[in-house]
Symmetry: C2
Subunit: 498 residues, 2 copies
């Protein structure tokens, strides 16, 4: 692609490169100089591409240094397992099959502890099961004489490979044992078929399984001991982060609609990025599901027990997505061409902003509940406040009716008296009213989130946040996680209100 571009517009390329010396070469444009130009362009393009790629990689590393740590861990695990080769007693102990240990490390080592454990279990169980089955088939085949042996083995490979491949289409198997089924097919074919040639099957199987166990143990130890990344903790953090994003988007959208841009710019230089936070919630279903699957396998870590109800996080995620769909609709209100007249917007702005800020306070409080693993003492109060704000908004909409009837058209404080003539139609009020009704819809969806979080709190037996110790706890939390400013701001607001 780059090559074509360079060839067809050679002059432009020289200009963009700013290479003055090439001008003198123009008169003698023979095939050699052309090829030279083309090669030069190709090289420059390549260098630029590689440079961009490296830049991107650097950004990814800077953004999440844990990824870099993971890579170093993977490199370390591989180097350690290579020691098996260099250490003669170990090497001979596994009869030169150390290759399988290297292979296991490469394939099994994953980003999170849960994923590594899951793959390890899959590999060990798949190999063992397939090994035993292959033994059985091999034994039967060897009894049935040399004529039938290849037939029996071929048929068994065909049947079992087909069945195992089919099992990977079943959702429950796919979610947990996809890799295991693959390894099952692999091992079964290798053992069943190679048994025909190699007669020392038992020793081979023993060595393979022991090397695989060496590999998996090494991987699990390295992922768990050196800067571990727990799938459970990741899921937990993702849920909190998504809630904060949801709250930010909700508040941001409504503020943007009522043109409070000035305030926004003060507090946040990227309002657009903040507004679109809800899109992360829309797209995190797959991640959440795989994380929850891996988290079930992880031992107790940090503040989480072994039987922490990770599945409940999926329910919370789904209720959050349902809320995000409505925020998507809300967001399209901002871009809509039909806008309500200014004075109606002004009239509605206070009560709408109150609903949105109260709603996002509820979400932030839920995020805090999950973050701290403590039942919130103020959530009922906040939900009540949200409901009363919604009630106010409904009353305000009701009172808008009067605006539409000719009798009470003029607002006493309105400055734009020219506009408030009797021509005001429902259609003009509509944009604001739709926004308002979406806000009401969102607040009812938020109550679903509240329910799912309360379920989590009950199942996981969150402790009560003691009322008298609330302030002290808050102070402690702030000390522990000073970067979570959203949290603080929300608490400040709650204190002001109380």
């Amino acid at each position: 692609m780059a090559h074509q571009e360079k060839e067809t517009s050679g002059l432009e390329w020289r200009i963009t490169l700013g290479d003055g010396s090439s001008k003198s070469l123009v008169p003698e444009t023979g095939p050699v100089s052309r090829i030279w130009m083309w090669l030069k362009g190709l090289m420059a393009g390549l260098v630029l591409k590689v440079w961009k790629f490296l830049n991107k990689a650097w950004d990814i590393g800077v953004e999440d240094p844990r990824k870099v740590i993971h890579c170093l861990k993977a490199g370390m695990a591989l180097t350690v397992v290579s020691l098996v080769y260099f250490t003669r007693p170990l090497y001979e102990g596994v009869g030169g099959n150390a290759m399988w240990a290297v292979m296991t490390v490469v394939v099994v080592f994953e980003n999170t502890v849960g994923a590594t454990i899951s793959k390890s279990l899959n590999r060990v169980i798949g190999t063992t099961l397939a090994g035993f089955l292959a033994f059985g088939v091999h034994w039967v085949a060897s009894l049935s004489g040399q004529k039938f042996e290849p037939l029996i083995i071929g048929a068994s490979v065909f049947l079992l490979a087909s069945a195992a491949t089919f099992s990977r289409f079943i959702p429950s198997v796919k979610a947990r044992f996809d890799y295991g089924a693959l390894i099952f097919i692999l091992t079964f074919s290798l053992v069943a078929v190679s048994g025909y040639r190699v007669d020392k099957l038992f020793a081979l199987a023993h060595q393979r399984i022991s090397t695989i166990i060496i590999g998996t143990c090494l991987c699990i130890l390295v992922t768990m001991l050196i800067c571990p990344i727990w799938a459970g903790q990741e899921l937990h953090a993702l849920t909190c982060r998504n809630m904060d994003k949801l709250a930010g988007s909700l508040e941001g959208c409504v503020e943007e609609y009522f043109d409070n841009n000035g305030e926004l710019e003060d507090s946040d230089k990227h309002p657009d990025k903040k507004l679109l936070g809800y899109k992360c919630v829309l797209n995190s279903k797959t991640t959440e599901e795989s994380m929850a699957n891996f988290a079930r396998l992880e031992p107790a870590h940090g503040r989480f027990n072994f039987k922490h109800p990770w599945q409940q996080y999926l329910k919370i995620g789904s209720s959050m997505r349902s809320c995000a769909y409505s925020i998507e609709a809300l967001n399209s209100c901002i871009d809509s061409e039909n806008q309500a007249p200014e004075f109606i917007k002004k009239r509605m702005s206070n009560v709408c902003l109150k609903v949105s800020s109260n709603s996002s306070c509820v979400i932030k409080e839920l995020a805090k509940t999950i973050k701290t693993l403590k039942k919130s003492s103020s959530i009922d109060f906040l939900v009540e406040e949200m409901s009363s704000a919604v009630q106010d908004l409904q009353n305000e909409i009701k009172s808008l009716s009067s605006l539409l009837s000719p009798a009470e058209l003029l607002l006493p404080e309105s400055k734009e008296t020219e506009k408030t003539t009797s021509t005001i139609h429902l259609l003009e009020v509509l944009p604001v009213v739709i926004l308002a009704s979406l806000l009401i819809d969102i607040s009812s969806r938020i109550q679903d989130i509240v329910k799912t979080v309360e379920e989590l709190a009950n199942v996981a037996e969150f402790k009560e946040e003691a009322d008298d110790k609330a302030k002290q706890n808050q102070a402690n939390i702030n000390r522990i996680v000073p970067s979570q400013q959203n949290d603080d701001q929300q608490t400040m607001k709650a204190l002001e209100r109380a």
Copy 2:
């Protein structure tokens, strides 16, 4: 889990099983009979689980027989590659390394042609690249003396494995070369490390690469020649199916809202399933992306060229999702507690139904355009019709204002005169008005879909559907795909209208 349940409530289990003979055993509840009972319960539970699992698997097979065919193909490919073991000349040709061919088949064989080609390319390129690099490192290491050899090899394994692992975090690499990076690490470690022991490196590498090529060629041939499933065709069909679902949901939701249940039940026994079709659109992003990635690698097949613009399908998918978000909001209108009074619903129903049926006609026409790969001759007309229906709806909303003002409250044809008192508030009209405005929003989002489909038609150079031959074409299409009833119904409607 099942075991605990049985042990703690043994009696209940007996009742649920309906096993009358067990009653006589109750008096002599010794440990032996208990264990017997428990074992029996365990077995029954297991059998039930296995039975359910098999049932589910059967359903999956019946629903999509191509999955069964894929499994048989996989079994066949594996059996064929096993022949390499049984055929002595072939076996000796690759020096006993036939194992790698089996492994390649197991790992590379995928459901679609594109996925198989992608994995094959990844495996071949990853192996070759890593093999050459490992040779180089090995050569340098062997020159530097026995003391530094393990050091150099260890350091190179660490560095390259870390770098390759990191590259898998970069989105563009992850999408296309994830498996290649894995194979790169694997091969590099194996060759670099094993070279320390095995001295006949070159022969080994040659054999490995040739067995891998045997395996990949076999896989590609089998996937392409026996009932091939093309990723491109799948993406194409998925897009068409999603469009039909979107159209069905849109029409179904509005009909459901205006209580046209009687009609619905006649035409379709599962209205709920039809209503929720849009959810498939919401969840198909990941599938679309991977399909588009694989489709790029596929040769020309069926009606598609090699350079068919598969990326454009992603844009269409994203505009469809944007429409589906609004249908989600529309769907929540149905379940809403606040419903408008019946007479207002009746007044609005005709015009709303017209917008929804026109909109879904547009979507169905787009689906037809993609299905037949022919530019539609009637799409402009249908879009115009949709716009005029939207205009009617807007006028209707405007005229609703008059209902709200005391002067013109009574509708001439209204039967529910008791309800049309002066207490009608904006809040009562609101549910219908919100539904209407969502419909208007949806129709504007549909125009985005129209744009993306038109782009596809231009880039992929769809032929014009000749006006005079339209009917004949339609007849042909109906003959080829008689099951696509939606299509027919839509054409009938279009003909009636014209």
